[in-house]
Protein backbone atom coordinates (compact mmCIF):
# COMPACT_ATOMS: atom_id res chain seq x y z
CA UNK A 1 0.00 0.00 0.00
CA UNK A 2 1.30 3.49 -0.82
CA UNK A 3 2.72 5.61 1.97
CA UNK A 4 0.13 8.28 1.20
CA UNK A 5 -2.74 5.81 1.80
CA UNK A 6 -1.08 4.62 5.00
CA UNK A 7 -0.78 8.21 6.21
CA UNK A 8 -4.51 8.73 5.74
CA UNK A 9 -5.39 5.43 7.43
CA UNK A 10 -3.04 6.25 10.32
CA UNK A 11 -4.62 9.66 10.99
CA UNK A 12 -8.11 8.20 10.65
CA UNK A 13 -7.21 5.43 13.08
CA UNK A 14 -5.67 7.87 15.54
CA UNK A 15 -8.25 10.66 15.46
CA UNK A 16 -11.44 8.97 14.20
CA UNK A 17 -12.09 6.92 17.30
CA UNK A 18 -11.29 9.82 19.60
CA UNK A 19 -13.66 12.22 17.85
CA UNK A 20 -16.49 9.71 17.64
CA UNK A 21 -16.19 8.80 21.30
CA UNK A 22 -16.26 12.50 22.20
CA UNK A 23 -19.40 12.98 20.14
CA UNK A 24 -21.12 9.88 21.54
CA UNK A 25 -20.22 10.89 25.09
CA UNK A 26 -21.49 14.46 24.81
CA UNK A 27 -24.60 13.64 22.78
CA UNK A 28 -25.44 10.56 24.86
CA UNK A 29 -25.19 12.47 28.11
CA UNK A 30 -27.01 15.40 26.53
CA UNK A 31 -29.91 13.10 25.61
CA UNK A 32 -30.24 11.92 29.21
CA UNK A 33 -30.31 15.53 30.39
CA UNK A 34 -32.88 16.48 27.76
CA UNK A 35 -34.95 13.40 28.57
CA UNK A 36 -34.99 13.96 32.33
CA UNK A 37 -35.00 17.76 32.48
CA UNK A 38 -38.25 19.69 32.73
CA UNK A 39 -37.56 21.59 29.49
CA UNK A 40 -36.63 18.50 27.55
CA UNK A 41 -39.72 16.38 28.11
CA UNK A 42 -41.84 17.96 25.41
CA UNK A 43 -39.18 17.03 22.88
CA UNK A 44 -40.47 13.48 23.29
CA UNK A 45 -37.10 11.76 22.98
CA UNK A 46 -37.07 7.98 23.51
CA UNK A 47 -33.91 7.56 25.54
CA UNK A 48 -33.37 3.85 24.89
CA UNK A 49 -33.86 4.12 21.14
CA UNK A 50 -31.48 7.05 20.82
CA UNK A 51 -28.86 5.52 23.09
CA UNK A 52 -29.02 2.25 21.19
CA UNK A 53 -28.66 3.91 17.78
CA UNK A 54 -25.91 6.21 19.07
CA UNK A 55 -23.97 3.33 20.63
CA UNK A 56 -24.26 1.11 17.55
CA UNK A 57 -23.12 3.75 15.08
CA UNK A 58 -20.32 5.03 17.30
CA UNK A 59 -19.10 1.51 18.02
CA UNK A 60 -19.11 0.65 14.31
CA UNK A 61 -17.07 3.76 13.55
CA UNK A 62 -14.51 3.03 16.25
CA UNK A 63 -14.15 -0.55 15.03
CA UNK A 64 -13.44 0.86 11.56
CA UNK A 65 -10.76 3.11 13.05
CA UNK A 66 -9.28 0.12 14.87
CA UNK A 67 -9.18 -1.88 11.64
CA UNK A 68 -7.46 1.04 9.90
CA UNK A 69 -4.84 1.12 12.64
CA UNK A 70 -4.26 -2.64 12.42
CA UNK A 71 -3.98 -2.43 8.63
CA UNK A 72 -1.25 0.16 9.00
CA UNK A 73 0.59 -1.91 11.61
CA UNK A 74 0.57 -4.93 9.31
CA UNK A 75 1.57 -2.89 6.27
CA UNK A 76 4.53 -1.30 8.09
CA UNK A 77 5.75 -4.48 9.80
CA UNK A 78 9.11 -4.15 8.02
CA UNK A 79 9.94 -0.86 9.76
CA UNK A 80 10.06 -0.24 13.51
CA UNK A 81 8.30 2.48 15.47
CA UNK A 82 11.76 4.00 15.91
CA UNK A 83 12.57 4.12 12.19
CA UNK A 84 12.80 7.45 10.45
CA UNK A 85 9.52 9.15 9.53
CA UNK A 86 7.18 8.88 7.72
CA UNK A 87 7.14 5.03 7.96
CA UNK A 88 8.38 4.96 11.56
CA UNK A 89 6.02 7.69 12.68
CA UNK A 90 3.09 6.12 10.84
CA UNK A 91 3.71 2.81 12.56
CA UNK A 92 4.21 4.54 15.91
CA UNK A 93 0.87 6.33 15.74
CA UNK A 94 -0.86 3.23 14.39
CA UNK A 95 0.25 1.22 17.42
CA UNK A 96 -0.96 4.04 19.65
CA UNK A 97 -4.30 4.16 17.84
CA UNK A 98 -4.77 0.39 18.10
CA UNK A 99 -4.69 0.71 21.90
CA UNK A 100 -6.67 3.93 22.14
CA UNK A 101 -9.57 2.65 20.04
CA UNK A 102 -10.00 -0.40 22.25
CA UNK A 103 -10.48 1.94 25.22
CA UNK A 104 -12.94 4.15 23.32
CA UNK A 105 -14.91 1.09 22.20
CA UNK A 106 -15.14 -0.21 25.77
CA UNK A 107 -16.45 3.13 27.07
CA UNK A 108 -19.03 3.36 24.30
CA UNK A 109 -20.31 -0.16 24.95
CA UNK A 110 -20.35 0.18 28.74
CA UNK A 111 -22.20 3.49 28.94
CA UNK A 112 -24.44 2.67 25.99
CA UNK A 113 -25.75 -0.56 27.52
CA UNK A 114 -25.92 0.90 31.03
CA UNK A 115 -27.91 3.89 29.76
CA UNK A 116 -30.40 1.47 28.20
CA UNK A 117 -30.57 -1.13 30.97
CA UNK A 118 -30.95 1.32 33.86
CA UNK A 119 -34.36 2.78 34.68
CA UNK A 120 -34.81 5.92 32.59
CA UNK A 121 -34.73 9.09 34.70
CA UNK A 122 -34.66 7.28 38.03
CA UNK A 123 -32.60 9.33 40.46
CA UNK A 124 -29.43 7.44 41.38
Amino acid sequence: MSLRKLEILQWFGLLGGALVWTAQHVVGYGITEAECGAGGLHWGIQNDVWQGALMASAAAFVVAAELAAITVIVATRRSSYESPPPPGRVRFFAIAAAVANVIFLMIILLDGFAAILNVTCRQG
Binding site: V99, V102, M106, L110, A114, L117, N118, V119, R122, Q123, G124
Partner: protein, 341 residues
Protein backbone atom coordinates in the same frame (compact mmCIF):
# COMPACT_ATOMS: atom_id res chain seq x y z
CA UNK B 1 -22.21 -9.78 74.51
CA UNK B 2 -22.71 -10.23 70.76
CA UNK B 3 -23.47 -7.34 68.47
CA UNK B 4 -27.19 -7.80 67.62
CA UNK B 5 -28.16 -8.40 71.24
CA UNK B 6 -26.14 -5.38 72.34
CA UNK B 7 -27.81 -3.23 69.70
CA UNK B 8 -31.22 -4.44 70.79
CA UNK B 9 -30.37 -3.55 74.38
CA UNK B 10 -29.29 -0.11 73.27
CA UNK B 11 -32.49 0.29 71.34
CA UNK B 12 -34.57 -0.61 74.37
CA UNK B 13 -32.68 1.87 76.48
CA UNK B 14 -33.06 4.51 73.83
CA UNK B 15 -36.77 4.00 73.47
CA UNK B 16 -36.94 5.09 77.05
CA UNK B 17 -35.11 8.20 75.78
CA UNK B 18 -32.14 8.01 78.07
CA UNK B 19 -28.70 8.89 76.86
CA UNK B 20 -26.69 5.93 75.56
CA UNK B 21 -24.96 4.00 78.30
CA UNK B 22 -21.21 3.55 78.17
CA UNK B 23 -20.51 0.23 76.48
CA UNK B 24 -22.93 0.67 73.63
CA UNK B 25 -20.45 2.71 71.67
CA UNK B 26 -22.05 4.63 68.82
CA UNK B 27 -20.97 4.32 65.22
CA UNK B 28 -21.14 6.33 62.02
CA UNK B 29 -19.38 3.63 60.07
CA UNK B 30 -20.14 2.50 56.53
CA UNK B 31 -18.53 -0.81 57.47
CA UNK B 32 -21.14 -1.60 60.15
CA UNK B 33 -24.16 -1.85 57.82
CA UNK B 34 -27.62 -2.21 59.30
CA UNK B 35 -29.63 -2.38 56.07
CA UNK B 36 -29.47 -4.37 52.84
CA UNK B 37 -28.36 -1.27 50.90
CA UNK B 38 -25.51 -0.47 53.24
CA UNK B 39 -24.61 -4.16 53.34
CA UNK B 40 -24.42 -4.38 49.54
CA UNK B 41 -22.16 -1.32 49.48
CA UNK B 42 -19.97 -2.68 52.27
CA UNK B 43 -19.49 -6.06 50.60
CA UNK B 44 -18.76 -4.23 47.33
CA UNK B 45 -16.01 -2.44 49.23
CA UNK B 46 -14.55 -5.57 50.80
CA UNK B 47 -14.30 -7.24 47.38
CA UNK B 48 -12.74 -4.16 45.81
CA UNK B 49 -10.29 -3.84 48.67
CA UNK B 50 -9.24 -7.48 48.23
CA UNK B 51 -8.60 -6.83 44.56
CA UNK B 52 -6.76 -3.62 45.38
CA UNK B 53 -4.36 -5.39 47.73
CA UNK B 54 -3.65 -7.99 45.05
CA UNK B 55 -2.91 -5.29 42.48
CA UNK B 56 -0.65 -3.42 44.86
CA UNK B 57 1.15 -6.63 45.81
CA UNK B 58 1.75 -7.37 42.12
CA UNK B 59 3.36 -3.99 41.48
CA UNK B 60 5.39 -3.97 44.68
CA UNK B 61 6.51 -7.50 43.82
CA UNK B 62 7.83 -6.34 40.45
CA UNK B 63 9.67 -3.41 42.06
CA UNK B 64 11.14 -5.72 44.68
CA UNK B 65 12.25 -8.16 41.98
CA UNK B 66 14.05 -5.36 40.18
CA UNK B 67 15.73 -4.49 43.49
CA UNK B 68 16.89 -8.10 43.85
CA UNK B 69 18.36 -7.97 40.34
CA UNK B 70 19.98 -4.55 40.80
CA UNK B 71 23.55 -5.91 41.02
CA UNK B 72 23.65 -7.76 37.69
CA UNK B 73 26.23 -6.84 35.06
CA UNK B 74 25.31 -3.44 33.65
CA UNK B 75 23.40 -3.00 30.39
CA UNK B 76 25.24 0.18 29.56
CA UNK B 77 25.83 -0.77 25.92
CA UNK B 78 22.29 -2.04 25.53
CA UNK B 79 21.19 1.58 25.58
CA UNK B 80 22.34 1.70 21.99
CA UNK B 81 21.89 -1.96 21.10
CA UNK B 82 18.82 -4.17 21.38
CA UNK B 83 16.71 -3.61 24.45
CA UNK B 84 16.77 -6.53 26.92
CA UNK B 85 13.50 -8.35 27.52
CA UNK B 86 11.56 -5.95 25.30
CA UNK B 87 9.38 -8.68 23.76
CA UNK B 88 8.44 -10.25 27.10
CA UNK B 89 7.78 -6.82 28.58
CA UNK B 90 5.33 -6.03 25.77
CA UNK B 91 3.38 -9.18 26.64
CA UNK B 92 3.27 -8.10 30.30
CA UNK B 93 2.15 -4.57 29.44
CA UNK B 94 -0.55 -5.73 27.03
CA UNK B 95 -1.68 -8.59 29.27
CA UNK B 96 -1.52 -7.07 32.77
CA UNK B 97 -1.72 -3.45 31.67
CA UNK B 98 -4.59 -3.65 29.17
CA UNK B 99 -6.45 -6.97 28.94
CA UNK B 100 -6.59 -7.83 32.66
CA UNK B 101 -7.74 -4.42 33.96
CA UNK B 102 -10.32 -4.03 31.18
CA UNK B 103 -11.85 -7.37 32.13
CA UNK B 104 -11.79 -6.75 35.88
CA UNK B 105 -13.03 -3.17 35.79
CA UNK B 106 -15.80 -3.90 33.29
CA UNK B 107 -17.02 -6.64 35.63
CA UNK B 108 -16.98 -4.18 38.51
CA UNK B 109 -18.92 -1.69 36.38
CA UNK B 110 -21.60 -4.22 35.50
CA UNK B 111 -22.01 -5.52 39.07
CA UNK B 112 -22.14 -2.12 40.75
CA UNK B 113 -23.76 0.14 38.16
CA UNK B 114 -26.31 -2.30 36.77
CA UNK B 115 -27.21 -4.39 39.83
CA UNK B 116 -26.16 -2.90 43.17
CA UNK B 117 -27.34 0.53 42.02
CA UNK B 118 -30.86 -0.88 41.75
CA UNK B 119 -30.95 -1.26 45.53
CA UNK B 120 -29.48 2.15 46.37
CA UNK B 121 -31.19 4.35 43.79
CA UNK B 122 -34.02 6.63 44.86
CA UNK B 123 -37.31 4.80 45.47
CA UNK B 124 -40.21 5.64 43.18
CA UNK B 125 -42.72 7.98 44.83
CA UNK B 126 -45.19 5.13 45.19
CA UNK B 127 -42.69 2.49 46.26
CA UNK B 128 -42.87 3.06 50.01
CA UNK B 129 -45.73 3.19 52.48
CA UNK B 130 -44.23 6.20 54.18
CA UNK B 131 -42.41 9.43 53.34
CA UNK B 132 -40.44 11.71 55.64
CA UNK B 133 -39.29 15.17 54.61
CA UNK B 134 -35.85 16.23 55.79
CA UNK B 135 -34.95 19.88 55.21
CA UNK B 136 -31.36 21.03 55.65
CA UNK B 137 -30.74 24.37 57.37
CA UNK B 138 -27.50 26.11 58.37
CA UNK B 139 -26.79 24.13 60.58
CA UNK B 140 -29.55 21.76 61.62
CA UNK B 141 -32.10 19.37 60.14
CA UNK B 142 -35.82 20.06 60.03
CA UNK B 143 -37.93 16.88 59.95
CA UNK B 144 -41.55 16.76 58.77
CA UNK B 145 -43.99 13.89 58.52
CA UNK B 146 -46.36 14.67 55.60
CA UNK B 147 -49.99 14.03 56.51
CA UNK B 148 -49.36 14.87 60.16
CA UNK B 149 -48.64 18.16 61.91
CA UNK B 150 -45.54 16.57 63.42
CA UNK B 151 -42.40 18.69 63.03
CA UNK B 152 -39.13 17.97 64.81
CA UNK B 153 -35.43 18.59 64.36
CA UNK B 154 -32.22 16.57 64.06
CA UNK B 155 -33.86 13.35 65.23
CA UNK B 156 -35.70 11.26 62.65
CA UNK B 157 -37.90 8.44 63.94
CA UNK B 158 -38.73 5.66 61.49
CA UNK B 159 -40.42 2.26 61.84
CA UNK B 160 -37.93 -0.59 61.80
CA UNK B 161 -37.82 -3.08 58.89
CA UNK B 162 -39.97 -0.72 56.80
CA UNK B 163 -38.72 1.05 53.70
CA UNK B 164 -39.11 4.80 54.27
CA UNK B 165 -38.75 7.35 51.48
CA UNK B 166 -36.74 10.35 52.64
CA UNK B 167 -37.28 13.51 50.59
CA UNK B 168 -34.21 15.67 51.15
CA UNK B 169 -34.48 19.40 50.41
CA UNK B 170 -32.74 22.51 51.66
CA UNK B 171 -33.77 25.88 53.05
CA UNK B 172 -30.47 27.56 52.16
CA UNK B 173 -27.23 26.05 50.83
CA UNK B 174 -26.30 22.55 49.70
CA UNK B 175 -26.17 19.98 52.48
CA UNK B 176 -25.90 16.22 52.26
CA UNK B 177 -28.03 13.77 54.21
CA UNK B 178 -25.95 10.77 55.21
CA UNK B 179 -26.57 7.86 57.55
CA UNK B 180 -23.75 5.48 56.65
CA UNK B 181 -25.08 2.44 58.46
CA UNK B 182 -28.38 2.58 56.56
CA UNK B 183 -27.60 3.86 53.07
CA UNK B 184 -25.37 6.01 50.86
CA UNK B 185 -25.72 9.80 51.02
CA UNK B 186 -27.92 12.22 49.09
CA UNK B 187 -27.28 15.95 48.66
CA UNK B 188 -29.95 18.54 49.35
CA UNK B 189 -29.86 20.86 46.34
CA UNK B 190 -31.71 24.19 46.10
CA UNK B 191 -34.52 23.84 43.58
CA UNK B 192 -34.51 20.03 43.69
CA UNK B 193 -36.36 17.37 45.66
CA UNK B 194 -33.95 14.48 46.02
CA UNK B 195 -35.08 11.18 47.47
CA UNK B 196 -33.41 8.22 49.14
CA UNK B 197 -34.69 5.08 50.83
CA UNK B 198 -34.00 4.42 54.50
CA UNK B 199 -34.44 0.93 55.85
CA UNK B 200 -33.21 -0.38 59.19
CA UNK B 201 -32.84 -4.10 59.94
CA UNK B 202 -32.83 -3.67 63.68
CA UNK B 203 -34.25 -1.17 66.16
CA UNK B 204 -31.63 1.30 67.28
CA UNK B 205 -30.15 4.74 67.07
CA UNK B 206 -28.10 5.45 63.95
CA UNK B 207 -25.83 8.45 63.69
CA UNK B 208 -25.83 10.58 60.55
CA UNK B 209 -24.17 13.79 59.45
CA UNK B 210 -24.22 16.56 56.90
CA UNK B 211 -21.59 15.44 54.39
CA UNK B 212 -21.42 18.47 52.10
CA UNK B 213 -19.50 21.53 53.26
CA UNK B 214 -22.18 24.06 54.19
CA UNK B 215 -20.33 26.82 56.02
CA UNK B 216 -19.03 27.69 59.46
CA UNK B 217 -20.70 24.96 61.50
CA UNK B 218 -20.63 22.17 58.93
CA UNK B 219 -18.84 20.18 61.63
CA UNK B 220 -21.83 20.44 63.98
CA UNK B 221 -24.67 19.33 61.74
CA UNK B 222 -25.28 15.75 62.72
CA UNK B 223 -28.52 13.86 63.22
CA UNK B 224 -29.93 10.66 64.68
CA UNK B 225 -32.19 8.08 63.10
CA UNK B 226 -34.29 6.22 65.65
CA UNK B 227 -35.56 2.95 64.19
CA UNK B 228 -38.38 1.73 66.40
CA UNK B 229 -40.85 -1.15 66.30
CA UNK B 230 -44.00 -0.23 64.38
CA UNK B 231 -46.22 0.34 67.42
CA UNK B 232 -43.62 2.33 69.32
CA UNK B 233 -43.12 4.47 66.24
CA UNK B 234 -46.87 5.03 65.84
CA UNK B 235 -47.06 6.10 69.46
CA UNK B 236 -44.17 8.50 69.02
CA UNK B 237 -45.68 10.02 65.88
CA UNK B 238 -49.00 10.36 67.68
CA UNK B 239 -47.36 12.27 70.56
CA UNK B 240 -45.23 14.34 68.21
CA UNK B 241 -48.32 15.43 66.31
CA UNK B 242 -49.95 16.81 69.44
CA UNK B 243 -49.63 20.54 70.19
CA UNK B 244 -47.51 21.46 73.18
CA UNK B 245 -48.94 20.61 76.60
CA UNK B 246 -49.99 23.62 78.70
CA UNK B 247 -47.21 24.59 81.10
CA UNK B 248 -47.63 22.75 84.41
CA UNK B 249 -46.56 24.66 87.54
CA UNK B 250 -45.68 28.30 88.12
CA UNK B 251 -42.10 28.05 86.90
CA UNK B 252 -43.16 26.55 83.59
CA UNK B 253 -45.95 29.11 83.20
CA UNK B 254 -43.42 31.90 83.86
CA UNK B 255 -41.13 30.25 81.33
CA UNK B 256 -43.89 30.15 78.73
CA UNK B 257 -44.40 33.89 79.23
CA UNK B 258 -40.67 34.53 78.85
CA UNK B 259 -40.69 32.48 75.68
CA UNK B 260 -43.64 34.30 74.16
CA UNK B 261 -42.67 37.84 75.19
CA UNK B 262 -38.95 37.41 74.78
CA UNK B 263 -36.96 36.98 71.63
CA UNK B 264 -37.44 33.18 71.51
CA UNK B 265 -40.81 33.28 69.79
CA UNK B 266 -39.44 35.46 66.99
CA UNK B 267 -37.51 32.47 65.62
CA UNK B 268 -38.96 29.30 67.15
CA UNK B 269 -42.36 27.72 66.90
CA UNK B 270 -44.24 25.90 69.64
CA UNK B 271 -47.40 24.41 68.20
CA UNK B 272 -50.45 25.28 70.28
CA UNK B 273 -49.05 28.68 71.22
CA UNK B 274 -48.71 31.96 69.32
CA UNK B 275 -45.07 31.18 68.56
CA UNK B 276 -45.06 29.93 64.95
CA UNK B 277 -41.85 31.23 63.37
CA UNK B 278 -39.81 28.72 61.42
CA UNK B 279 -36.37 30.33 61.46
CA UNK B 280 -35.08 27.96 64.13
CA UNK B 281 -36.06 24.41 65.08
CA UNK B 282 -39.65 23.65 66.14
CA UNK B 283 -39.59 23.30 69.94
CA UNK B 284 -43.06 21.81 70.47
CA UNK B 285 -41.61 18.64 71.95
CA UNK B 286 -38.02 19.73 72.49
CA UNK B 287 -38.00 18.14 75.92
CA UNK B 288 -38.36 14.72 74.36
CA UNK B 289 -35.20 15.03 72.21
CA UNK B 290 -31.93 13.47 73.27
CA UNK B 291 -29.63 16.21 71.98
CA UNK B 292 -29.52 19.93 71.18
CA UNK B 293 -28.04 21.96 68.32
CA UNK B 294 -27.83 19.08 65.80
CA UNK B 295 -26.23 16.56 68.15
CA UNK B 296 -23.73 19.11 69.42
CA UNK B 297 -24.61 18.72 73.14
CA UNK B 298 -26.87 16.33 75.08
CA UNK B 299 -30.31 17.63 76.03
CA UNK B 300 -30.88 18.42 79.70
CA UNK B 301 -31.50 21.25 82.12
CA UNK B 302 -27.90 22.39 82.48
CA UNK B 303 -26.88 22.01 78.84
CA UNK B 304 -30.05 23.74 77.64
CA UNK B 305 -29.31 26.59 80.04
CA UNK B 306 -25.74 26.82 78.75
CA UNK B 307 -27.00 26.77 75.19
CA UNK B 308 -29.44 29.64 75.72
CA UNK B 309 -26.94 32.00 77.30
CA UNK B 310 -23.71 30.84 75.67
CA UNK B 311 -24.51 29.11 72.36
CA UNK B 312 -22.12 31.31 70.37
CA UNK B 313 -19.31 29.78 72.38
CA UNK B 314 -20.61 26.22 72.06
CA UNK B 315 -21.35 26.52 68.32
CA UNK B 316 -19.71 29.72 67.06
CA UNK B 317 -21.46 31.43 64.19
CA UNK B 318 -24.75 29.58 64.58
CA UNK B 319 -27.76 31.72 63.78
CA UNK B 320 -29.05 32.02 67.38
CA UNK B 321 -27.76 34.93 69.46
CA UNK B 322 -26.69 34.47 73.09
CA UNK B 323 -29.81 35.26 75.12
CA UNK B 324 -29.11 37.38 78.21
CA UNK B 325 -31.77 36.69 80.83
CA UNK B 326 -31.99 37.22 84.60
CA UNK B 327 -31.37 33.81 86.11
CA UNK B 328 -34.89 33.58 87.54
CA UNK B 329 -36.36 33.94 84.04
CA UNK B 330 -33.71 31.59 82.66
CA UNK B 331 -34.63 28.88 85.18
CA UNK B 332 -38.28 29.29 84.32
CA UNK B 333 -37.57 29.11 80.59
CA UNK B 334 -35.49 25.97 80.96
CA UNK B 335 -38.16 24.39 83.17
CA UNK B 336 -40.81 25.21 80.56
CA UNK B 337 -38.85 23.88 77.59
CA UNK B 338 -37.66 20.73 79.32
CA UNK B 339 -41.28 19.91 80.18
CA UNK B 340 -42.27 20.04 76.51
CA UNK B 341 -42.13 16.27 76.16
Amino acid sequence: MNAPRRDRLCAVLLLAVVLPLAGCREKQSSLAPKSHQARDIASLFWWMMGGAWLGLALVVGLLFWSWKRRNRRGFRDDTEGPKPGEQASWYVVVGLGIAMPIAVISTLFVISDLFVIKTTQAPAATATKMTVEVIGHQWWWEVRYPGTPAVTANEVHIPVRTPVRIVATTADVIHSFWVPQLNRKIDTIPGRRNAIELYADAPGRYRGACAEFCGLQHAHMDLYIFAEPEDAFRKWLEDESQPAAAPSGDAAAEGARVFQDGSCSSCHAIRGTDANSDVGPDLTHVGSRTTLAAVTIPNGDSSLRDWIIDNQHIKPGNQMPDIRLPSSQLDALVAYLENLK
